[in-house]
């Protein structure tokens, strides 16, 4: 698997898209920090970018990579390599290169800005770690979609739909159900609903740093425990890991049973 990962990674590191993605983040970091000169505001803007754009790029890029390398995959399949190694290797190659574009692209301007001397270092590191997690999660979901759909138009369609659902529609349904059932105790439900969407999960993880003052204003005991202690941070991080592992398992399972 490591060999496949290595080659996929090298291949992507030379692709134009990796550079575009990398330069985009570099530019974003520079603009936010040096033209605006307001670290707290930069972190808030970055959060919006990370929870919306990173999943989108991860999904599209994952699907695109899978379909574009189909024939090459067939070549690999005829080699004495385990099937799961091929797909997991490609997946980790894509996810790693995307994460690196993100982390380095944003990290470089922040290092020049002097983030190490700033109290925002933790907020910022949390943003990058969350961004990397989201990349891994959505690339994995993209691979699952692509592996289950031979038709690439359909695959792209489902991928975009998945993103739209996770980033916007889910929260809309979530909000409506909270408003509709407002007479019932809802804090367990809302935490559960948050855990079930990686975009919400990452958002809440960042909120724990950015908006803790507001979150602690709520009376429910479950919220208090979640937001007021390290419990929330630990649970959210654990759930993010689960969100990487589950689609990865599906990649492995589908790849094992699929005909090429």
């Amino acid at each position: 698997m490591l060999k496949i990962l290595k080659y996929s990674f090298y291949d992507l590191m030379r692709s134009r898209w990796s550079y575009v993605y990398f330069l985009f983040y570099l530019l974003l970091g520079v603009v936010l920090l040096f033209l605006n000169n307001d670290l707290s505001k930069a972190v808030i803007t970055l959060m919006n970018v990370i929870i919306i754009l990173v999943p989108l790029i991860g999904t599209i890029f994952g699907v695109m990579y899978y379909y574009n390398s189909r024939e090459f995959t067939e070549l690999l399949l005829a080699q004495p390599v385990k099937r799961s190694s091929i797909f997991l290797g490609q997946y980790f190659g894509v996810a790693t290169s995307l994460s690196m574009s993100l982390v380095i692209g944003l990290g470089v301007p922040f290092i020049f800005y002097g983030i190490f001397n700033s109290s925002a270092i933790w907020d910022f590191s949390l943003l990058l770690v969350t961004g990397a997690f989201l990349t891994f999660i959505f690339t994995a979901l993209a691979f699952v979609i692509a592996l289950s759909n031979e038709n690439r138009i359909k695959g792209f369609g489902y991928a975009i739909l998945l993103w739209l659902f996770m980033a916007v529609i889910y929260d809309g349904i979530f909000l409506m159900s909270l408003l509709y059932f407002e007479d019932y105790p809802l804090d367990k439900f809302s935490l559960l609903a948050t855990m079930l969407n990686p975009v919400d999960l990452s958002r809440v993880l960042i909120l724990l740093k950015l908006d803790i003052s507001a979150l602690l204003g709520y009376t429910g005991a479950v919220f208090q425990k979640f937001f007021g202690t390290n419990f929330g941070l630990l649970l959210s991080s654990a759930m993010l890991i689960v969100w990487v592992l589950v689609p990865t398992f599906f990649i492995w399972r589908i790849a094992k049973r699929k005909d090429f």
């Binding site: 060999k3 496949i4 080659y7 996929s8 090298y10 291949d11 992507l12 030379r14 692709s15 390398s69 189909r70 024939e71 090459f72 067939e74 070549l75 690999l76 399949l77 005829a78 080699q79 004495p80 390599v81 385990k82 099937r83 049973r257 005909d259 090429f260």
Partner: protein, 236 residues
């Protein structure tokens, strides 16, 4: 060498292989023929483990294929469409496949020489023409010394000279005592190189034997007409 037992495969409702029994014991060149959709590629992919059969078994050198991937070390496969990661250079691709197979005894230099690929070694695969890609594809296939070679439409996109070189290459591999499995639409090519024909029709083996046996059976003077007569009688 290769033993296929009662092989069934369907894609959705479409039954592609309906009980294939095939045994290839000796070395030589075997052509798998048949009309479009007769299951040629599916059969080959089953042997390669790329398509998983619904039922039936395949043995290579007496070992079952299921949950086994190491046997592919003994197979060289030429896929139909040559499409490689665009950002790799030709030399890197060759090094990579070698790396994946952990194989040191290769004859890639020889083959590069044969197909005159030296000027392309440092070019990215995305910038190569279809024919050149097919040549690279051939290098990747023939550079290992495996006892079983599977070629899916090997003549695609090749110029006449390369075509000729390919034919020589196949013959020289045959002389080394290897088993070579070919699918092709170019009947003249098949007739020229094949020792034996396996004719698939609607998911079953319709005929297995030499070209002359086929002519005899169909009572036709030449190979092309023989094939045509099979097709017209079966569709009549």
């Amino acid at each position: 060498m290769i033993e296929v037992k009662d092989l069934y495969k369907k894609f959705g409702k479409n039954e592609v292989l309906k009980g294939i029994d095939l045994t290839i014991e000796r070395s030589g060149i075997f052509s798998v023929l048949g009309p479009n959709g007769s299951g040629k590629t599916t059969l080959i992919k089953c042997i390669l483990g790329m398509v998983l059969p619904n039922s039936g078994q395949i043995f290579i050198d007496g070992k079952p294929l299921k949950n086994n991937f190491k046997y592919r070390n003994e197979i060289d496969y030429l896929p139909q469409i040559a499409n490689f990661p665009g950002n790799l250079k030709v030399s890197e691709l060759i090094a990579m496949i070698k790396d994946l197979r952990d194989s040191k005894a290769t004859k890639d230099d020889e083959l590069i020489e044969l197909f005159k690929l030296q000027p392309y070694l440092n070019k990215k695969l995305a910038n190569l023409s279809g024919g050149t890609k097919q040549k690279v594809n051939l290098v990747l296939t023939f550079m290992f010394d495996s006892p079983l070679i599977i070629l899916d439409e090997p003549t695609n996109g090749l110029d006449p000279i390369s075509h000729l070189r390919l034919k020589n290459l196949i013959n020289s591999e045959k002389e080394k005592g290897k088993t070579i499995l070919i699918t092709s639409h170019i009947l003249s090519f098949v007739e020229e190189v094949s020792d034996e024909i396996v004719f698939l029709l609607e998911g079953k083996i319709y005929f297995k034997g030499s070209v002359s046996e086929l002519k005899e059976k169909t009572e036709q003077p030449d190979f092309e007409h023989a094939i045509a007569s099979i097709l017209s009688s079966s569709y009549a």
